[in-house]
Symmetry: C2
Subunit: 379 residues, 2 copies
Amino acid sequence: MSEQPVDDMVVTPWDVSGELDYAKLIEKFGTKPMTGSLLNRIESLVGDLHPMLRRGIVFSHRDFDWLLNHIEKHGKSDFVLYTGRGPSGNTHIGHLVPWQFTKWLQDKFDVHLYFQITDDEKFLLDPINRTYAQMQAYAMENAKDILAVGFDPEKTHLIIDSKAGPKFREVATTVSSRINFTTAKAIFGFTESTNIGMIYHAAIQSAPCFYPSVLLGRNIPVLIPAGIDQDPYWRATRDVAEKLGWYKPTALHSEFIPGLGKGGKMSASQPNSTIFTTDTPKQAGKKVKRAVTGGRQTIAEQKELGGIPEQCNVFSWYRTIFEDDDSALQKRYEDCRSGTLMCGPCKQELADRVVIFLEMHQSRREDVEDLVEQTIIRE
Amino acid sequence: MSEQPVDDMVVTPWDVSGELDYAKLIEKFGTKPMTGSLLNRIESLVGDLHPMLRRGIVFSHRDFDWLLNHIEKHGKSDFVLYTGRGPSGNTHIGHLVPWQFTKWLQDKFDVHLYFQITDDEKFLLDPINRTYAQMQAYAMENAKDILAVGFDPEKTHLIIDSKAGPKFREVATTVSSRINFTTAKAIFGFTESTNIGMIYHAAIQSAPCFYPSVLLGRNIPVLIPAGIDQDPYWRATRDVAEKLGWYKPTALHSEFIPGLGKGGKMSASQPNSTIFTTDTPKQAGKKVKRAVTGGRQTIAEQKELGGIPEQCNVFSWYRTIFEDDDSALQKRYEDCRSGTLMCGPCKQELADRVVIFLEMHQSRREDVEDLVEQTIIRE
């Protein structure tokens, strides 16, 4: 008999699967846990805390304490935000959650956001089955979803890799000069058969950490709100920063939003357990009602034993995105545990909220269409 | 005693040194020798032959026979020229020789020329001691020398890597998706400690082979007049072309122009044996008069035995650039062999011609300054 691996959690920039243990991820990636003291410092700077901060969904960071020291000294707006999206398909709700948090950061700290869309990387990952033009088209579609989240168009700069300009290229080339194949291989798991475009892409994805400094003509810190799976990119970047005299990027890591099926993060490759921003409200409602929950086999059993919200995708969606009110969330948790709330109505309520959310998002998506061109940075 | 290597000839894209044996280079690089039959076909297409063709200075080719078949069928202008320059310093006369031949090809075949200036590569080769901005500045200076050669500004497109646009990047990314690290390593001699920018540059230097086809929206052959040392780049490119359905690039290889000192090709790293386009006429004249020749130790000896033009840098310069007239060249050869012509007057005459050439080049260099911007392609 072959042994089962004790730990089947896989978290890389290209794959998140298995049962996720966030304490182990902090250990694995060598980051630091979010603390109450850091939350207090945020609150005293901006007046309140986003639900993802209050609820521990933002669970880890790199040098966020250093960034707080910096802005406590130089002003709360003395940094920029950088996050990204790999446009291999349509946007889903799992993407929107960290973007909403990023918007909150932009609003509260009043800072510029550089949003990279890596259409070139998505092509390079599978050049046989994908075309460059397809990935560019997804990039433009995804850009609408990004702007529909409500970022300040005056302070938001879309870096679409295939459209990036000479200053951006200069930063990428400079970064690439300081990463050798050994380092790239160790960090990203490249092999001898990896194509040279993917190898180089490490530099393209690092470049936005320094591009704002080059544009501004002075060193400015960068905060990256992202999944911890993207952390390897910033590890290479941090080494380069030290060599080149730029600030090392700082990061806030949030939990992965689960799909409606079993395990891992919400993924476009499992369309039935994922709600896309382009789904019709009817499709979306159906998917929610088929969700895997933390409920029991029968209603009788559930009334007796109560449900398990900790193992419930539906509860997870309320916690991360569909219930802003902490006391309402707490009540839902207790009603589930006590066997008062059954899965049927709980799913129905989520489906209703998802439908409203989608309708609003889709309408905003149309409204921002004209903003896409003007927010693309081509310098 | 340690053994001397029998063959100390080194020819790579980054180094040409030792005693050059062109027959061996053809064997080493797997190219084909230029033949009288190919020369006849050129002559019947365009009416005459450039001295570099008549004198065998263009000694090798890749698929030039295929290209002749193509244009004999589709018209003599149904291809484009591609050549390049790595701007690590000022231009010298050794660079101008193949450019003059390229201009002749442009004029005679009436074709477009894509001229790549790899400022990014020159930075990536030595990021510690060079800056990106320095290499960009050299690129702009070199561009003036290129245009001063007299290329048709309406049909000449400078691809300055640091200024290249999104369509060019698309081609480079596409090429990079089909070259893996194993291939790049084998062809270019990369190691694990090569930086990822240099690794990727193989794709940047291949891209101009296909960029004209993308711009035109149809497959068009490319002819590369270049030193044989650049051949490895086209080997990778030819593999990619087959995979992507583009024409494989064809090439004409010319001999290296020797410096005025001993061995190898003219090199900016030996400034005393190299004449730069920015040298004053006085400096240039002095350098020629100090040249290593094929002359004997004493005048008496030379009168008795004659000189050895085959081993003479001065004669080599007459042969490649400073004597268009075949019968005058033949006479100089015979006068040297017979002991009639001494090195002093032969050098003096070359110095005079070099000075006139430089003065004309420098004046044209000023005239074309305004053309640089309009010939840079940024698509």
